[in-house]
Symmetry: D2
Subunit: 368 residues, 4 copies
């Protein structure tokens, strides 16, 4: 069974390759009656590429979102929404040369084995970060839907390599600043240091990883479908499908392992007539269900595996050791591009689960 | 859509509550022709409860596995395999008293909201660690199936609170020692220190968390179904459904965020005529596909939220602040019980994905 | 991917074989807050076996329903409901003798090929009419749920062999009479003639088929999820999974093929302030959506393939022609037993789709 | 949960409306290594519109298939294949006028209720026969895949209104003639009489229905996943999703209800060393599994509900009785267009189930 769909109520199916003609996504299950336009998609898509060209690849992918179906008179109809972006500026020449030389820590080698050599290897094909374009388009629909129910999903860069933002950010601060700096860190001074680190790595023919955080505020209590479609489980699943993610944690995450129960438990307290917790070490999820507190997620992003430095590899045609120096156009750090992708993955999962929980209806309103 | 099933080829559906009559699981999609008996299930089930009573709850759940269907003449038939365990020694008296007082960092509160108050709250109901019994029974089937294809899944305790095992373990060492000590750490000296830490926490009316690691060896190249059913994504999903898990990472995990690409990339090399990597920082998965190298997973387990110490909570009936001191019988640390649950979650996911990849056939052999 | 589950919101998973220890079913997705007891299941189960022993097999399967999970204080909890029946009076001796001789028009031969010879062939195993016990148990839950929303599902026998009931039945008449006569025909005089036909066929060592009809009243407008989960499509799918069904039609069904549009169209008319149709040739479904008019389904049931008369077959061990005379205990006509199975299949599908359409909430009420 | 996808291994997701910009489909799960071009899709698409304009609607939809993804160097890659057709010659003016007047026996009324009035009602929107374009494109992929394994799916017209072809057709005859005549009947003389009947109906401002038959030859033994994904169940589900289908039967279908078991059973016999049956009353399926004999399906198609004659309806805005005479461009009989749609629905289902049964591998061959 192929795996290019995700979600059980708000279901998205993606298609397209890095160097193919189009990348696209079909969103099935968006309730009828949501105002939606190509501009709504475009604004999110534009967040993928920072304005400053210093820290991204030479390939400036000006992506234009196009809606093929599912909208009538400016509203969703309940029918599937197909969204595409045409791939432009494709230069596949670099890839032909290294077809038999799998790039270390890329999917080249296992993909070739899995698909019997038929996979489109150009630019990583289906395994390219380019596919996050489809995630972001679907995420734009999810975010518009969630916003109608007061839910806001906010991702931002916490760390790039060894440069870390230390302070706690308020939702307001993140909302306002996260797409201001090229590195997507709401602490704008720190954002600049991150940018310098990336520029340095690029000069060295090297690359950097980092940490992206994401909060979701105003998620109602009881979202999630344990045992096996727990909210954290489905969020983690969506996030590990974002290229380069190697770790996902909620609330205190791995830090909780060293604490005692009396230190990590979140005591309940009545707050303005509502049940709240004094701390949110759980990251807003208990037993796979949302608690009503902010959901807090941290995601580890690995350094871009495409680097200029020479690396050891093997020649899959001759089955001999070889070496490789990757030319092409590559981002020295994918963390900034990962920010909207993480935001989208979280929004898509929340939209799906809020519909599943019966908290978003199938028709948002009824026309006269 | 309810969420009590997981897996698309090797699909399991669980049922049962902590203080209900039975817990059970239906395994659908196990290929025909696998020898399977109740003893195969029992041996894994017995690993859930360490022999030493010092570090587990007073409730000694002697669980007896029973096969209801799907086996004929000692072999799987291709029909669904239903497995149950009767719940014994149930004492629900403690729970009636605290019905309106949600235990901090348990699912009590969100579950009550989600199910309108109809959920079986006794002992945590569906949210109890007791449901891992069903995971382990299904995992026993998955492990037997995988072993036929040379795949071995091995989980063990890496840390309990601040006590950590430092050394790198070989598969052989883990296989041999992981169920020897009550704390499931293959380093038996360290295992003893972990036990002491747990005993101390229990005396203090407190609890501990820890880290469980799991490796899977001999997984063939190309297992996983990106974009959205990536192998790591589905492993993470299964693992976050194990109660108390707050973080999941592969290979270097969060540590990779600080490295450069030249440090974290795994160079390819020919090894005995096969493609291998010099390091396994990726944890055996790239682009959502297995690479043929050992899969390496780390899981953060939070401290048991049920502690004897007095905690703040609220009364959901009066909507006033309250306090709570949990009596009952509780494990001061669930890490040891989490080990076979993690092993099972990983095995179930791998069995599912190896069938999906066409690497395990629907019928294992043909009778004359 | 194995196929022992059906439904996307109200999902059932069955297990068990004709001559195994148990048959059972897990119902996942039943909303919380529905009163449900073993007696509710038992009353439907008892309808499977007509009181008169003349027209059923010698095997009098006294089936006792047992609930393993999912009920607390007499209400559904939102957790999966597991239901089992123990198989009694199993006599497998007849089957050993004919193990290599596939019974004509039974699943013996394709099942043996599919499962490599590992399938439990005794009594037809998974392919026995006995598995409808699990359908009926799940159907009992679905019917109780639907009744809360005013929806009633009523199946009955329209024809047995060449004996047909000619008159149009009102819902009231069907509701009252359908389980009165052993042959499940609401026209009690006709029911008697059907019984005579069955008794005659049995004496001849032969068997009969027939036609079962099913209506569903008070289904709201707009139930169904086109394109591919159209209401009629999913009803047909569920019905073809009832053993012995060879045809399914809605409204006029095949008779519509000979009519003109002006004859078969159902004109709209206002009726007591509501939109209705003057005729219901469509059987209550248009474009895969319910119209609010009664849903009307007809199902063709083939004659029991197990007959006493000698039949040609082949020996699968020697691969030579052979002959076979089936002894054992067999119903000379499965139409009466098919009636509650059809009713259940329709009820399960409607429950599933009413939840999908948002017309049944996830929690039926909220406890104080 | 929305329902615009079907299939579990060979999964298709459709999008697009009759008067929207595009209709399209994403095929996920087609094995890698199948040669596929736009011409392969186009040839099937062209079969939808008979060359003779007499019996089809004035709207001559010249549909041009375009592949957006999933093909590389002329072969499928294992990635999803997105296929679209641009809608041209759209004239929606007729529909605005009758927006509030639901056409009898169309989906207009239930769709309006279901989607709160937001559905695209122009030309029937998602409920138009136009969506079969997407079925046919996906069917073209399925047929090409099946043909590699010797499986051929052949649909044809058996009856139009009261004009019926009486003779039994050989696979060869169907293969050769079915797309010769505009009415898609392999008996070319009968095909002409069908055409005359359609022309007459059109003149009368009326419409006709009919019967489409479909055979599938060389399907291996054991395809199908009972209990609930039985082969006949999934074929019926796919077929009822073809617009205008009101009945589906296999083999003798409803005729079997009047026979005795001794008349309807298919005796086994050895034939050239293989197991065969003397008759094929079962239509090639027993217990939900293919038997290796030809699969034989009959489908009832209702008359086009859009007719010129005046009909009763209601005004949904004023909630008063009204009348309606449909102008626009409509096929007086959709049977000819249904033929390739039926063929596609059957092919898609068989491709899905042959992969599920492990009879089609995930990679068709391996490149050097």
């Amino acid at each position: 069974m192929a795996g290019n769909s995700i979600g059980k109520e708000f279901t998205i199916t993606t298609f397209g390759e890095s160097h193919g003609k189009y990348v696209g996504v079909v969103v099935d299950g968006c309730p009828a009656g949501l105002p939606l336009s190509e501009a709504d998609i475009q604004v999110e898509l534009d967040r993928r590429i920072p304005a400053q060209p210093k820290i991204v690849s030479g390939r400036i992918e000006k992506d234009v979102a196009k809606i093929l179906s599912g909208i009538f008179n400016g509203f969703t109809t309940g029918a599937p929404i197909a969204l595409i972006v045409e791939n432009k500026e494709i230069d596949s020449s670099d890839y032909e040369a290294i077809k038999d030389l799998p790039r270390p820590s890329h999917a080249d080698y296992p993909a070739r084995v899995k698909y019997g050599g038929f996979n489109d290897y150009r630019g990583g094909g289906r395994f390219s970060g380019r596919v996050t374009v489809t995630l972001i388009m679907a995420g734009a629909v999810a975010k518009k839907l969630l916003s109608r129910f007061g839910v806001d999903v906010l991702a931002y860069t916490r760390a790039v390599g060894k440069v870390k933002a230390d302070k706690k950010f308020s939702a307001e601060e993140i909302r306002k600043n996260r797409y201001t700096a090229a590195t997507r860190c709401p602490d704008l001074a720190c954002a600049e240091r991150m940018e310098e680190a990336i520029v340095t790595a690029r000069k060295e023919g090297d690359s950097l990883g980092g940490v992206v955080e994401c909060i979701a505020v105003n998620v109602p209590v009881g979202v999630g479908e344990p045992l096996f479609d727990s909210l954290d489980a489905d969020l983690a699943k969506a996030l590990f499908n974002v290229p380069a993610v190697k770790g996902v944690e909620f609330g205190l995450g791995f830090r909780v392992a060293e604490l005692k129960g009396s230190e990590s438990n979140d005591p309940y307290i009545m707050q303005s007539g509502k049940v709240a917790t004094l701390t949110d070490n759980a990251g807003g999820i208990l037993g796979g269900l949302s608690t009503g507190m902010p959901i807090m997620i941290r995601v580890a992003i690995k350094p871009t595996p495409s680097i200029g430095k020479e690396q050891k590899t093997v020649n899959l045609s001759t089955m001999e050791n070889a070496s490789l120096s990757i030319k092409g156009r590559h981002d020295p750090c994918v963390v900034p591009k990962a920010v909207p992708a993480v935001e989208s993955a979280v929004a898509i999962t929340l939209a799906d689960h809020m519909i599943r929980a019966g908290l978003i209806p199938k028709v948002l309103e009824r026309q006269k």
